[in-house]
Symmetry: C2
Subunit: 106 residues, 2 copies
DNA sequence: CGATTGTGCAGCCAATCGGTTGCAAATATA
DNA sequence: TATATTTGCAACCGATTGGCTGCACAATCG
């Protein structure tokens, strides 16, 4: 079982669940209402998200509220950092080209 | 075939390939040298990355140089935006708590 | 108490995944 | 021209995936 955050967000239903519970905690039944799938399949997705610590649970009686562990999302952001450096460089290169063109116009 | 960018970065080997060719274009053989797998399997990964437009090819004779389509990576960054808003809010909430504590101390 | 509701888990299944081997085509080299 | 190199693609294979059904268990309701 691989179960890392990148594998977790690979599935479109899981990404939708993440977005759904990002702002407010929800029960599995309430989450499942938003998808054309069974409650059990949503439950399976929640288990996967729990296993890689992307969601947390809070039990209220027989209801379980799931919400996003927002800090964990920063791991993706962290991985993207290496490419942000490149974006920046490319932008500067483009900037240089533009200012060269500007100077030639003068 | 799903073939979106999130499914593409789900595999650790593909993430490593992306990092490898982010700064300089490389041939499939050169890429495969960095992994304990066959050239054909790397070729398969490159095909998947090509299909979701994450890499571009440049042919030089019989050699094909693959490099990262860095702009495409921004799609992940874009998806993360919705969570950045939440990080910001959470930070402000923490900030409020801290300043309340500060006031109480006074 | 019995019935209903909310939930997780096991087992099944078709589809997909990531790897392999074997090949064919194109280019470079002798 | 014959040979070697670089590559992509097809076929196969075991493992994993994501969905389903059926169940068990606990909490709530009548």
């Amino acid at each position: 079982m691989r179960r890392d955050i990148f594998q977790a967000i690979a599935d479109p239903t899981r990404r939708a669940i993440i977005t759904l519970i990002a702002l407010q905690a929800m029960t599995p039944n309430a989450i499942a209402d938003n998808f054309q799938t069974t409650r059990q399949s949503v439950s399976k997705h929640l288990r996967i998200l729990t296993e890689c610590e992307l969601v947390k649970q809070e039990q209220h009686g027989r209801e379980i509220y799931y919400s996003l562990e927002i800090e964990k999302m920063k791991e993706i952001d962290k991985w993207l950092d290496q490419f942000r450096q490149i974006w920046k460089t490319k932008f500067n290169q483009l900037d240089n080209v533009l200012s060269t063109l500007k100077k030639q116009k003068k």
